[in-house]
Amino acid sequence: MNNTSECIHAQRLTFAYGTGPNVLDIPDFTVHAGERVFLYGPSGSGKTTLLGLIAGVLQPEPGTLNVLGHDVGSLSSAARDRFRASHIGYVFQMFNLIPYLNVRDNIALPVRINTERRSRLNGSLDEAVAEAAAHLGIEELLDEKVTRLSVGQQQRVAAARAILGAPELIIADEPTSALDADRRHAFLELLFSNVQEAGSTLLFVSHDLGLADQFDRSLSLPDLNRAEG
C-alpha cells in the first residue's frame, strides 16, 4: 500500500514511562521499504520501548514516528491495535504460541483477528495456512499441539504466523536467541526467503552481532538512542 521508500521513519522520537526520565530519545531513524535491517539491541538499550512504539502498543508524540505512512502518535489505541493486526507480523524471542491452540490455529490467528489481513490472502484461509507452513517446513506439524514442539519448530510456527497475509512489516525480536548455531542459520535462511517472497520489510533485533553481516544494513540502538539507558 505504501510505495514510498520509507517504511519506518522516526524523528525526534522520545518516550518516557509516566513521569519518569526519557528511556528513548532517537533524533533520526529510518528503515526503507523492502529492507532487511539488523538492529543491535542489547538489554537496557530501549529495545522493548522502541518496538512497542513501532508496533503501536505504546503511544509516541504525534509527528515523531511514521510507520507505513501512518502517524502512529495520532492514532487512537484501538486504531493502533487494528493497524498492528493488519500490517505488522511479530516474532518473539520464545513462547510465541498460544498453548491451547494447535499449530494450524496458531498460524491462522492473526488473520482471524483482522479482516483486512484476511482480505489479502490468496485463496482460502486453510490453503494460506498450509502454504505458509510448507514454506517453513512445518506442514506435517499442522495438527500438533504446540506444547509438543521443539523450540526451533515453535519459532518456525511463529514465523509462519508472522508472514501469513503478507504484512508490510515484520518485526523479529531476538527470534533466534533460543536456537543453537545450526538452527539459527537455517531459521534465518527461511525467514529471509519468506520475507522476500512476501515483499515485506524486516526489522530484526538482536544482541548477537554475529548475525549482522547477513542483513542489508545494520544499526546499533545504543548509538541511535541518546537517552541514558
Binding site: 522493548t48 518496538l51 512497542g52 508496533a55 502498543v57 505504546l58 489505541s77 484501538a78 491495535d81 487494528r82 493497524f83 498492528r84 493486526a85 493488519s86 505488522i88 511479530y90 518473539f92 513462547f95 510465541n96 504460541l97 498460544i98 498453548p99 491451547y100 491452540l101 490455529d105 490467528l109 492473526p110 482471524r112 483477528i113 483482522n114 504466523r161 525480536d173
Partner: protein, 421 residues
C-alpha cells in the same frame, strides 16, 4: 466467534480446573433448583394431606387447632360436639357424606380415633386417593381395631392380636383400660399421611372405653364395666364426637354450609375449608423454606466466588498469552471480553450440569423419597422461579468474570508486548 473459539479452547486446555469449577457451580445450582423442587413437593404433599373434603367441623375454636387435631393428629380438642348435632348435619340435604371423628385416647403413643364405615369410604388424600385395607377388614364391632400402616409396623402387630387402649394420651399411664380387650381386625395400606399413625376403632368402641369415666375420674372400684357387659348391650350409646369431615352434594354449597354451621344456634361450632386452612398453615411454616433458600443462594455465591478465584489465579500464568494476543493486534477490550466469556461459559456449563444433576437425582431418588418420607417430588419442567435462578447464576457468572478481566486488562496494558515479571 473467534473469542468464543478461544474461550472454549482455553477452558478445555485447563480441563481439570475448568471441570472442577463447573462442577462446584453445578452442585450449587443443583442445590438451589433442588430445594425449590423439594419445596414444591413438600407443599403439595402437605396440602394434599386430606383431599376431597369440603369442610371439617369441630367445636368452636381456632381453625388451625381444628386442623391439627383432626387431620394431623396433634394437640387436643377443647370441647366435643354432640352426637345429635352431627347427625343433623349428616342428614342435611346439601351434605353428601360425613366422617365422624371421636378422639381422646391413645395406645402406646398412637392416637385412637373412633369413626365409622364412612371413613373407609370417603376419606381421601393426595389428589383423591382413597384409603384401602392392606389386610383384614374394616372395624365394625365394638372391640374391632384397624391399624394405620406405620402403627402396625412400629408395634409389630398382626391381624388377630389383642390390644389394650389407654384413656388419656400417655403411653405410660397406669390407668390402662386393660379390661377392654380390643382385637386387630385390619391394617390400612400406607398413605404417607398422618392416617398411618393412628388406630381406628368404631364410635361405639371409643364410647365403651369411657364407660364409668363420665365424671372424669376413674370408675370407683366395683363400678368398672367389663367387656362382657359391653358386649351384652343391645346398643352402645354414643353421645359425643370430636369433629367431622363433610362432603357437600356440590362444591357450590360449601360456603353456605360453612356459614350455616358456624352460626348454628344448636351448638357453637367452627367449620373450615381444609384446602384453605392448609395453605394458610403452610404460609405459617414456610419461613423455614425461606431460610433454606437463602442458604442455597449463598452456596451459589460461594460457587461463583470459587470460579472467580480460579480464573484470577490463572491470570499470572497467562500473561504471556495475553502479550501474544496483544502483539497479534487484539485490543485490551477484547481481552476483557475473552475472560468474561470464559467465566460466562463456565457458569453456563455449571448451571446446565446442575439442572442435569437435579433431574438425574430426582429420577434416581424419587421412589425412595416417596417410600421413605411420603414426599412425592414431581419431575417436571423447570418453573419460572427455577429458570430465573438458573439465568441469574449465568448472569452472575458473566459479571464475576469482569473481576479477573479487568485485572487482565490492566496487566495487558502494562505488559504490552513483553512480560515484565
Amino acid at each position: 466467534m473467534l473469542l468464543l473459539h478461544l474461550a472454549r479452547k482455553s477452558l478445555a486446555n485447563r480441563l481439570l480446573t475448568s471441570s472442577l469449577t463447573a462442577l462446584s457451580i453445578a452442585f450449587s445450582v443443583a442445590l438451589l433448583v433442588g430445594v425449590e423442587n423439594v419445596r414444591t413437593g413438600m407443599r403439595e404433599s402437605f396440602s394434599n394431606t386430606v383431599s376431597g373434603t369440603d369442610l371439617i367441623v369441630g367445636s368452636r375454636g381456632g381453625t388451625i387447632q381444628l386442623m391439627l387435631y383432626s387431620v394431623f393428629g396433634m394437640g387436643s380438642p377443647v370441647a366435643n360436639i354432640s352426637h345429635e348435632t352431627w347427625k343433623e348435619w349428616d342428614e342435611h340435604p346439601a351434605v353428601s357424606w360425613t366422617i365422624p371423628y371421636a378422639l381422646g385416647d391413645s395406645h402406646r403413643g398412637f392416637r385412637v380415633i373412633g369413626t365409622n364405615a364412612s371413613f373407609y369410604e370417603h376419606y381421601k388424600y393426595r389428589g383423591g386417593q382413597s384409603i384401602a385395607l392392606a389386610e383384614g377388614r374394616q372395624a365394625e364391632g365394638v372391640f374391632d381395631v384397624v391399624l394405620g400402616a406405620q402403627v402396625a409396623e412400629r408395634l409389630e402387630y398382626a391381624v388377630g392380636e389383642r390390644v389394650a387402649v389407654t384413656h388419656g394420651m400417655s403411653a405410660v399411664g397406669f390407668m390402662n383400660h386393660d379390661e377392654m380387650p380390643f382385637e386387630v381386625v385390619g391394617i390400612l395400606e400406607e398413605t404417607f399421611t398422618p392416617v398411618d399413625r393412628a388406630i381406628y376403632v368404631t364410635l361405639e368402641g371409643i364410647t365403651a372405653i369411657h364407660m364409668g369415666w363420665e365424671s372424669g375420674a376413674p370408675p370407683m372400684p366395683g363400678e368398672e364395666i367389663t367387656a362382657d357387659e359391653v358386649l351384652a348391650m343391645e346398643e352402645v350409646p354414643v353421645s359425643q364426637i370430636t369433629s367431622f369431615f363433610l362432603g357437600a352434594e356440590s362444591r357450590a354449597y360449601t360456603l353456605q354450609l360453612q356459614r350455616d354451621i358456624s352460626t348454628s344456634e344448636a351448638e357453637p361450632m367452627t367449620a373450615v375449608i381444609p384446602g384453605l386452612a392448609l395453605s394458610e398453615m403452610w404460609q405459617g411454616i414456610s419461613y423455614a423454606e425461606d431460610g433454606l433458600r437463602v442458604i442455597s443462594a449463598f452456596v451459589v455465591l460461594v460457587g461463583i466466588l470459587g470460579m472467580l478465584v480460579s480464573i484470577y489465579t490463572s491470570l499470572e500464568a497467562r500473561r504471556r498469552e495475553m502479550a501474544i494476543l496483544r502483539a497479534l493486534g487484539t485490543g485490551p477490550r477484547r481481552i476483557v471480553s475473552l475472560l468474561v466469556l470464559e467465566a460466562g461459559l463456565l457458569s453456563a456449563l455449571g448451571a446446565l450440569m446442575g439442572v442435569g444433576l437435579v433431574y438425574g437425582g430426582l429420577i434416581m431418588l424419587q421412589p425412595w423419597l416417596e417410600g421413605r418420607f411420603g414426599l412425592l417430588v414431581p419431575i417436571r419442567m423447570l418453573d419460572g422461579v427455577q429458570l430465573a435462578y438458573v439465568g441469574a447464576v449465568v448472569v452472575l457468572g458473566f459479571v464475576a468474570g469482569l473481576v479477573p478481566a479487568i485485572k487482565a486488562y490492566r496487566t495487558a496494558l502494562h505488559d504490552g508486548l513483553s512480560v515484565r515479571v
